[in-house]
Symmetry: C2
Subunit: 360 residues, 2 copies
């Protein structure tokens, strides 16, 4: 991240502590508060500001304080068959619930080679890649999906029915770092359209549609009554594929978990319980192949991509996870880069909740 005037660098430990303390002041147990802080700070360290501590108040604290989200969560396995389970998230913070679900999937994978689970009755969980990466840390392949509040128009419709429903896949390599794909199934996030509106600029055709469902370059029209296009954009450029992927994510995360789906998902800025659902899976590599051979093959695969001849004007071919990894390295060293308004809001909330600034 380039240094920007309205951003401040805060030491990572200080951010973790204040986030944890604020959550504890909202009746979240210390261990669970630390999990949420870890997910949010990890997002900021990776440069995924839209899913970091900037969401602490609006997505989580407000919901907890209004009694819409359960701070003392006891997720329960409600169904289990061999390597598959279904978890009730007890209307808790999605981070805590999904961490437990992925831990359980990893445990099942140790026994069965693979572990798969749905999570219902949950809430916004931050970055999907966090949970997929948990499996990779154990030498397994990880998958994490979630549905989210409706922002994306199915091809042919003018109504935003689907969430940006992300897909995250993590695959460990050998000398190369973890392959970590974490992508929304929309073309762009709504935040990117909002930035363009603030700047008074137009957006590329394919990002979204106006209230009539027609492609537009006007960010205002996308935000006010319009919607995002699924990955692929218009029908002409195969936007129906992104629509299909977003639907798969909603089916596995929402329909199959008993959670809210489509327009019934009200996550995010809305302080009510969102009822979102997630899907997690972990798979042992040695169930298919010698893990050392796999590591070598992954390194060769990634290496061939990195060394591919460059397109004109390009400086490198990146592999999934590269951009975030660079930011992570820089931010760990220099402190978490937070917009000064975000940091101010957090400090004010700490004060309001009686969290001692010295301790925080």
């Amino acid at each position: 991240m380039n240094e920007r005037a309205d951003y401040t660098r805060v030491p990572e430990t200080r951010v973790r502590r204040i986030v944890g303390d604020i959550l504890q002041a909202c009746a979240v147990p210390p261990e669970d508060a630390a999990i949420v802080a870890d997910v949010l700070v990890t997002a900021d360290l990776r440069g995924i500001e839209s899913h970091g501590v900037s969401r602490l108040i609006s997505y989580y604290v407000n919901g907890l304080r209004a009694g819409h989200v359960n701070p003392q969560v006891h997720p329960k396995i409600v169904r289990e068959m061999g390597a598959v389970f279904s978890m009730d998230g007890d209307n808790g913070l999605g981070h805590v619930v999904t961490r437990r679900a992925m831990e359980y999937a990893i445990d099942l994978a140790r026994v069965h080679g693979v572990g798969v689970g749905t999570v219902g009755n949950s809430n916004h969980f931050g970055i999907a890649g966090y949970y997929a990466a948990m499996a990779a840390e154990c030498g397994m392949i990880g998958l994490c999906l979630t549905n989210s509040r409706p922002l994306v128009m199915p091809t042919g419709s003018r109504e935003a029915l689907l969430g940006t429903n992300p897909i995250a896949v993590a695959v460990p390599a050998g000398g190369e770092p973890v392959f970590l794909l974490d992508m929304a199934t929309s073309g762009v996030p709504i935040g990117k359209v909002e930035v363009m509106r603030r700047r008074g600029e137009t957006v590329p055709i394919g990002w979204g549609a106006d209230a009539r469902g027609l492609p537009t370059d006007d960010p205002e029209a996308i935000i006010e009554g319009g919607g995002l296009f699924p990955l692929g954009g218009t029908k002409e450029t195969a936007g129906y594929k992104g629509y299909g992927l977003a639907a798969v994510v909603d089916i596995l995360s929402g329909v199959l978990s008993g959670a809210s789906v489509l327009t019934s998902v009200l996550a995010g800025a809305d302080p009510g319980a969102s009822g979102v659902g997630h899907f997690v899976a972990a798979m042992r590599i040695d169930a298919c192949m010698d893990p050392n051979a796999f590591s070598e093959r992954m390194d060769a695969f990634i290496g061939q991509l990195r060394e591919a001849p460059l397109a004109e004007g390009e400086e490198e071919v990146m592999v999934a996870g590269d951009p975030e990894r660079r930011q992570h390295a820089e931010n760990r060293l220099r402190g978490v880069a937070l917009h000064e308004n975000v940091w101010k809001e957090i400090e004010q909330m700490a004060e309001e909740l009686g969290v001692s600034p010295e301790e925080a």
Copy 2:
């Protein structure tokens, strides 16, 4: 499909018989020949002409006759752990091998709730959706992936390194038909670019790049030395997401199965053994939820999509599998629509191989 002058309608049973007989004349056992015929004819019935009997000679018969593909395949499970297995495809026809692999995944799912397998040392298998749909026919959720010959440029590169690596997902519903997504992870197939070249028309920006890796509207430049863009198109419209998905498919199908990956995949028109790999999974719905409740939820989910308010100029909102299902209904009734050259080529091959035209 609109009736076109250079297309002929052939009764389905006749197509199945002649395809089967040709393959048997190439030393493929009757049962396996029937499987290949079923996959190819199913593609044509669904209107997926590019993966139907038009490929019989160039993709399969030539390889069999040249000794590059093993007609008498004995796929072997080379590794197995709980719900996960790895299959060696014995360099056989991909259809036969992958049908067995999906049957095995379904068997494992009956016991463990889920079954997952990789297939290496295989060849082109036709439409991925065929195998995913096998799981849905058993009331399960099905997934099938495959890598394929390099046609797609990773974002930032000017070299086509990745295949169009499809993702197929099938989910059974209740009153609604099976949700069946079967999509390449490129924006468009190369065949669509070839059609535009023949017509002398330009293509939308986002379909592909020229030999320098720059976006172009010239189909000639994409085909001759250029390449397809991944789903999402250019970097500006998030083509790196399609690139990421294509890489995931290559990792699961190729790296993890021990098959060829990236540019080492030489499937398709090349008659040599391709060494492609596949990935299959099947999951029981009742491992997560009461299957009747799931059917109702799927029907409601699909229903809400169908009834979504239309974008201006649109006539309907479709759900994955709808367009192919309509073609299927029409083609079953009226016969398989084949380009007259394709049918002529097949009849000539039958004659060359001594397949009796009466029997065929």
